[in-house]
Symmetry: D2
Subunit: 284 residues, 4 copies
């Protein structure tokens, strides 16, 4: 596979957008591999993801941004440019439960995730041995009300030292402060163990059991200042019956959490997600 | 198919319950067709549904209740006895949308639902022609704040005249008063167009669109005094993406509403539902 | 809603395709409403569906084909052009079961399907009354081995007289001859009551029961010369357990058949389906 | 949790079965925790799973079999008795793919599976390091046509030395001989990467891609002499579109394979599966 470039674009909708963007690629002899676009008619916003082959592209990689800028300006685009051979760096935050962590690490080790995992951060020592199984540094930050601000500061320094691009909260049972979140906008992915917006907050399986629902779910979303209210990336559900105790729901729910979180990571790694109005466009 | 009897039982859990109940059936030469039981271990409640063939049963139908009463008393049972040859009578309440009504009537007409439908009640004239297609009386009760109490009183009299056993709200866009509900405990089935408890109240698809969920749902439940908070009978969901407008969600959601409501009716007709703690046991 | 035009295109993949097509629309002041494209990399085939607003489009409707032809030729396109204000005409073929027929007719009557239904054809009189409920002519063609060729000929004449564009087999329990099929290429939609390619042919629920599957399904596809082997448009499944008899599977399966067939019709009406290599591209 | 006993029973259906079995438990002061029963009406076979608390049971554990035998004989039962404190021993067979292996081992390590895993067997060295991560002996048996019989013989000796109760084929890409299978009747669980009976044999994702299905699946089943034709334990599916290449199907399918195989193992460990007529009764 040759290298490719991917543009992610959003801007006010206007006639000629697709024609102009695809013409830019075509006239420099790029071959489009994938093109997805979507218009939010109500809010008049245009979204696009276009990926093209760099093999015969007539602009040098380092000059593409500059070459595209005039077009971007003329349509007031917000845009990102990604190259397929740049491997992003992901930090994983965990607490005591291993199911999501194992799922992520086994996908990474088998090559399904094209990502580097320079470190795992936890507020508990429990999963140290899992990190060791995969030879990944494991950093413990015990957190109390008093130490939280200071510990988050230390975490941020560590993340910067490791050049981390984005963070995955793999059942990390700590609420992250707004200050921390503000340093990683749309770059912290969380998994919540309910089909949001139902059962926000603590112990969602207990809430689901008490309400007597016939379906439970899991939701991955970008973390924002408001708890469990960030833009939803992916959700999935499974059936339960009156026979399922809270313990059964936890067991069944773990499978949802694993797959929903891993799908969200995969979309993120593929640069398929655009965020607007606290919602996501996910190009499948 | 010969006639059968079905017992629905709930009581405090105690050793010997299954043995005693099945022995009652066995010693009078009944043949068990289906038996389901469940124990809520946390609350120590026993639930059972048992259906047996009446062909060789040695107690006359009219004497079964009396014969079972002593056993029921000794275990403090709440219980119901149903006979398969008694066809229940169902009233359907509608407003303007036809999809659930058509779905119910076509199942009834093809023999899938063993039920009588003596009347349809509506607050609008729109679906009169559908009722006429199926030769079912259609009664219109226009409702305003001022007339509500009086109109509900008139509806209740009509339902009594028609010997209605239970009511289905097939997208009836009126909130029913507590007084009305109290006359049909666990006998009013509603369909709500969201996966409850998410998106209670008005315009759930608009709420779902605004929140940016990736899955929408529908929920059928028994109506209680609190809005959209009664015991859930059945739920189902379908995927949506950023491409789905509110209008698309409405279209996809209608299919959910139809099938979820009809499954709830089917369970109810089969006497498979037991209610406790604002939850349901549904024996599949 | 103003009128729109939709182009469905397939051709050998080549650089510049998207740019050229969107430029054609742009330079004549059309505003793109939806654009989907897909490249089968293995077979090097390009597929596109693009829909644009005709409100300010500078080419008269009757001249669009001629204006587009040179571009189409230069890329060796196979293409169709559809206008949103042209309502297609659909014939429904049925036998004795009403569930799919009712589902289609109620969607049509509520305005979900933008289609005309000039007639229903059947090999049995059973569903005449349903047709009458909806005031649609119902034509009965009794079919035996001996009369088949002749009856199909008569059906074809009738369909031509009614200017029928496409046909839906809504549980029509007759195999259609290759000759008949050849007159409606990719314009006969069938529903088969299994998840094809499992359980081809007769009595698929019996086959599913005998095999002990835990999931049953339904499949809608375009009819081709080979039985149940045409391009699949849509599939869906539902869970079954050991408790489900063949009769239960039939009941559960009917719900699948209804929704899968109706979704296929909807995609067809929206001009979202392209066929190649006995497969479909369905732009969602 | 106190220890419990579980009876799995199948026999010709007869009046009095449930009463007799539950009376046996009741009169010796056992408390029933779970009871499931099912009658195949067509074949007149009765199935039951009953689990009861041993805390106050008046028969010593080693005497239960003898005490139950007369009742079992009188109804011609085939039956098994299991105790909750006996941990079964499971061997895992793998080839080169790690996803199912990791999924099983992480469930085992987190305590979700109450099982001992004394060894992993493979025909390739690739997954040795995974076995080492979890400190499980890894035995390599290279297999050619010539060596197969002899290698299977060596495998069987190893399994006997390790007192293995049952075997899981976690994407083991070798066909096992009838002779080997005959030594582990209903004790070899396989995962096949299609929704059987569709796409039997090699490369099912390639078959699915070629056929253009809109849903792919995975199936776990007990291995029998006929390839991919044993009693199905569990199945699941996921949607695909024209956009999914074979590689995408493989990626999505892995998630199905993991969860479907692990659910089958869980049912097996819980003694919830009864086999008859090449089908399974799985009490949920």
């Amino acid at each position: 596979m040759a290298d490719s470039a991917t543009l992610l674009i959003s801007c006010p909708d206007k006639r000629g957008l697709v024609a102009s963007i695809t013409d830019f690629i075509f006239k420099h002899e790029g071959n489009i591999l994938h093109l997805d676009q979507y218009v939010d008619v109500e809010d008049n916003i245009f979204f696009m993801r276009v990926e093209w082959d760099l093999a015969n592209f007539k602009i040098w990689r380092q000059d593409i941004e500059g070459a595209f800028q005039p077009l971007a300006d003329s349509f007031e685009m917000r845009w990102q440019l990604h190259f397929s051979d740049k491997t992003p760096r992901m930090a994983i935050f965990v607490s005591k439960q291993s199911h999501c962590l194992y799922d992520i690490l086994s996908r990474w080790q088998s090559g399904e995730f094209n990502v580097e995992i320079p470190l795992i951060i936890s507020n508990h020592p429990n999963l140290q041995s899992v990190a060791e199984q995969f030879n990944i540094p494991y950093h413990i930050f015990q957190i109390t009300k008093e130490t939280k601000a200071q510990q988050e500061q230390a975490q941020r320094e560590l993340l910067e030292n490791y050049n981390v691009d984005f963070i995955v909260l793999a059942r990390y049972m700590q609420i992250i402060t707004d200050d921390f979140v503000s340093h990683y906008p749309q770059n912290i992915i969380n998994i919540h163990h309910s089909f949001l917006p139902a059962f926000v907050g603590a112990r969602p399986y207990h809430q689901a059991y008490a309400r007597g629902v016939k379906i439970i779910g899991a939701t991955s979303h970008y973390v924002t200042a408001e708890l469990d209210a960030g833009p939803i990336i992916e959700q999935d559900v499974t059936r339960v019956t009156h026979q399922d105790s809270v313990k059964d729901m936890v067991r069944k729910g773990k499978d949802l959490e694993k797959s929903v979180l891993s799908r969200a990571i995969w979309y993120h790694l593929q640069n398929r997600i655009l965020v607007y109005n606290n919602k996501t466009v996910v190009f499948h």
